[in-house]
């Protein structure tokens, strides 16, 4: 098997698994999310920074070591967004221009990388959310892809049901605000267009992961070399190079942009190209004037250092400015923890069994964009479910054991008695109380009417009451807790079982 075919086999498998993870089946997603993000750059990097001992963090070290040895293999083998572009490039092979050598926009990509890192350290994940390739792919998979697949599923279910076959179930796509859908479909369109027109230009110009791995791969051990004796300058390799990094005129390959797809090896009719270890490691010649590169690197280092020292995080500013923040999933710990870990991949959105987790758009302000929130118009947070924390690849939603999750207060309930049906009409309702899982809502009987009352000590903010409340606007609502708290556990009063004793011999009628 040639190295190219090996790459295609691995990457196709990774791509299919990634799509499956984002289709929202709880079992499949949970199983896959324990292995796949291990090899995803940004999730494993975040795990490594915040929890160096964690197993997922070591994935980052493996990726880093692999890049030092083999070059940017992540971009071709493991990055789902890269593989998606490769699929686009492959499918349009007959219609588009062949690849040629491209000039490098290294400066732009480094600036974007520095800006992304500095803003992230300052507490704004907006650029990470928008640019991280894994998360970009996650949104593409869980919005447009999943919508199409569920639509097909529901068509099939419809046919089956005519014949009384109920093995398959109608599945409902989670709510996607129009603005969010615009971003995910827009990014899909832009990235595919980019790739069809100029190959992996997105990865080499905009993607911060690509920029970082590009720096590392300049020192990689294995690299592509052209043998000048055998090369006839037929440009076969250049025309299949998605990264546009082969310069036949100078017989040079820019290893910082090479995504190690191995297309060139198979394309060369004279076998003038080789992929082998270079000892000693040559510093592959980026022709950036040394003064400029020094300025950039010192600015980057300085910016990163200063921003790390900066005492105020943007999240705390944001929280002070806006009292009403979105409700975050259980396990998010606090606004700053959540917004500074979440890359907005929307795996939790997709896996949520009640569809209560939806993508936010700008609700988190400067802290982040597109990060998920709980929307109680869509559903409520199921008491017996902790799936979001189980699948979260970055630790933004920490995995909680069920007993702990059942006492984690993500919001607090309040009842507006001026709107509540029972208080206004003096007629029974109980919609909120009958679904409250924690006894935070209890009935009080006055003049033969059962009024709902609230004891916030037991409230976990799951939103079952708000979702059920039949009034418009809702009489019972939940507001977000910026730091998640622990609710009290309800202990029922010991009461004699009066029922057990009565009428056990005969009938009461």
């Amino acid at each position: 098997m040639s190295l190219k075919k090996f790459r295609i086999t691995i990457s196709t498998t990774v791509f299919i698994l990634c799509v499956m993870a984002f289709l929202g089946d709880e079992k499949i997603s949970t199983a896959l999310s324990n292995t796949l993000p291990y090899f995803q750059f940004t999730p494993s990097l975040l795990k490594f920074i915040h929890n160096p001992g964690h197993l997922l963090g070591s994935g980052f070290l493996i990726l880093l070591a692999a890049t030092f040895i083999f070059g940017r293999c992540y971009c071709s083998f493991l990055c789902p967004l890269g593989i998606l572009q490769d699929i686009g490039i492959r499918l349009t092979r007959g219609f588009r221009k062949r690849h040629t050598f491209q000039r490098s926009y290294r400066l732009a990509s480094y600036c974007l990388l520095v800006l992304t890192v500095v803003t992230a350290i300052l507490g704004s994940f907006t650029l990470v959310n928008l640019l991280d390739p894994y998360s970009l792919f996650g949104r593409i998979a869980s919005h447009p892809f999943k919508s199409v697949i569920l639509w097909i599923n529901n068509m099939i279910v419809d046919i089956f049901e005519q014949f009384d076959m109920y093995a398959l179930m109608v599945r409902k796509q989670h709510h996607i605000p129009f603005s969010v859908l615009t971003v995910s479909i827009g990014s899909l369109g832009i990235i595919l267009a980019f790739s069809i027109i100029s190959g992996r230009a997105y990865c080499n110009t905009i993607c911060p992961v690509g920029a970082f791995l590009g720096i590392v791969s300049r020192f990689s051990l294995f690299r592509f070399v052209i043998d000048p004796k055998n090369c006839r300058s037929c440009r076969s390799c250049e025309s299949v190079c998605k990264a546009g990094c082969i310069d036949i005129d100078k017989l040079e390959i820019d290893s910082s942009r090479c995504v190690t797809c191995f297309n060139c090896l198979d394309a060369c009719p004279k076998k003038a190209l080789d992929y082998k270890a270079q000892v000693p490691i040559p510093f592959s010649g980026p022709r950036v004037p040394s003064k400029r590169s020094f300025l950039i690197s010192s600015a980057a280092a300085g910016g990163t250092f200063l921003s790390a020292l900066f005492p105020i995080r943007l999240s705390s500013l944001e929280a002070a400015l806006h009292k009403q923040m979105p409700i975050m999933p259980p396990g998010s710990k606090s606004l700053s923890h959540f917004t500074q870990h979440c890359t907005a991949c929307h795996l939790c959105v997709s896996v949520c069994r009640t569809n209560v987790i939806v993508p936010a758009y700008l609700e988190y302000g400067v802290c982040g964009i597109l990060q998920p929130k709980l929307d109680y118009l869509q559903g409520h947070c199921d008491f017996d479910c902790n799936a979001c924390g189980q699948v979260c690849p970055t630790g933004a939603i920490a995995p909680l054991l069920l007993p702990e999750k059942k006492r984690t207060r993500i919001g607090t309930v309040s009842l507006n008695k001026k709107k509540c049906i029972v208080h206004v009409n003096k007629k029974h309702c109980g919609a909120c109380g009958e679904v409250c899982p924690t006894h935070a809502i209890f009935p009080v009987e006055k003049e033969l009417v059962l009024f709902p009352e609230i004891d916030i000590d037991y409230c976990i903010g799951c939103g079952a009451c708000e979702h059920a409340c039949p009034t418009q606007p809702k009489a019972i609502t939940v507001t977000s807790e910026l730091v998640h708290l622990k609710a009290q556990k309800y202990v029922p009063s010991a009461s004699t079982k009066q029922l057990a004793e009565t009428h056990n011999k005969g009938f009461p009628f």
Partner: protein, 317 residues
């Protein structure tokens, strides 16, 4: 999607498939004819009460006392069995109908010659995805399937059709599950349990699980709407499971300690009478449960148990 359009689309789909497949034709005709199995029963008791047995054994006894399932289900008919699967709770919590009872009822329906038996409930936890959890957790899906029933989904508006209810005071119109309209025989199988906001949940309250918009009841007048719905459709048979009775923290319940074994089963064609009797089994005066009184006032049934022919049986005694 517009509901009517979806219905038309389904009809179209049904017809085009039927044209292609010969089997489809018989299926289409089979479900449209409506033969109601309302045998003029002279000797049938108004209410049968059995106690001190397992759910299935008590049902065997009760249905025999009612004159056998053949009285209610004729050969080739389609039956709808409507349990209470309102919450994702294990049977020992007492929030959902006993699966053993459901299995036994489905078995009796097939023995009587039923062509198909459907089981469904539009669960109380209205978030998307909760229905399948309730079906599973309650053990009813498994029990019903093992007896050969079709466990149908009810968590999508496409299964519902708009109906008007003549004579209703508040619930003038509602959307009803198509199986309620299509089935020849409708068997209501509630569980008797505490309900902290209507005092009791029994047979009349159980019918909230065949409509799409439960919250319409809550916003209009919960108890009046519960009574109003019975003007549209009275079940052909009501079987109240009072084997394990949740006596507080209803309707969803808490721990098994909050339910007690009453080992009782009530069967009646009169939904008001069976609710009144069940309420007494719980230990509550039926007059306190407003919808029972309202149902009586609307002539849906008779809550005065003294006026009824009640057959009682204590098992093993």
């Amino acid at each position: 999607m517009n509901k009517l359009n979806s219905k038309q689309r389904r009809e179209f789909l049904k017809k085009s498939l039927a044209a292609g497949v010969a089997v489809g034709g018989s299926l289409l005709w089979g479900t449209t004819d409506r033969l109601f199995a309302k045998a003029a029963a002279s000797g049938t008791p108004d209410l049968v009460a059995v106690k001190n047995g397992e759910p299935d054994a008590m049902f065997n006894q009760a249905i025999t006392m009612m004159g056998g399932m053949k009285k209610f289900v004729k050969k080739g008919q389609t039956v709808l069995v409507k349990p209470n699967i309102g919450f994702a709770r294990k049977p020992e919590i007492g929030a959902t109908t006993n699966p053993k009872l459901i299995k036994s009822i489905v078995g009796h329906c097939f023995e009587a010659g039923a062509k198909k038996v459907y089981v469904f409930d539009n669960v109380a936890e209205s978030s998307y995805g909760m229905a399948r959890k309730c079906y599973k957790e309650s053990g009813i899906e498994e029990a019903a399937k093992s007896a050969g029933a079709l466990v149908a989904p009810a968590d999508n508006e496409k299964y519902y059709q708009k109906v008007t209810i003549p004579g209703a005071k508040t619930l003038v119109s509602t959307e009803v599950h198509e199986l309620v309209l299509e089935a020849d025989v409708f068997i209501n199988v509630p569980i008797l349990k505490n309900h902290r906001y209507t005092y009791q949940s029994i047979a009349m309250k159980n019918l909230m699980g065949v409509v799409w918009d439960r919250m319409k009841y809550h916003s209009l007048d919960l108890e009046q709407s519960i009574a109003d719905f019975c003007l549209f459709k009275k079940p052909d048979l009501n079987i109240v499971d009072a084997y394990r009775v949740m006596w507080r923290f209803g309707p969803q319940g808490s721990t098994p300690e909050n339910a007690v074994l009453k080992k009782t089963l009530l069967v009646s064609k009169d939904i008001v009478a069976v609710d009144a009797a069940a309420s007494k089994v719980y230990g509550m005066d039926p007059e306190r449960v407003r919808y029972i009184q309202l149902g009586h006032d609307l002539n849906i049934g008779n809550m005065n148990l003294d006026e009824l022919n009640i057959q009682r049986h204590v098992m093993g005694g």
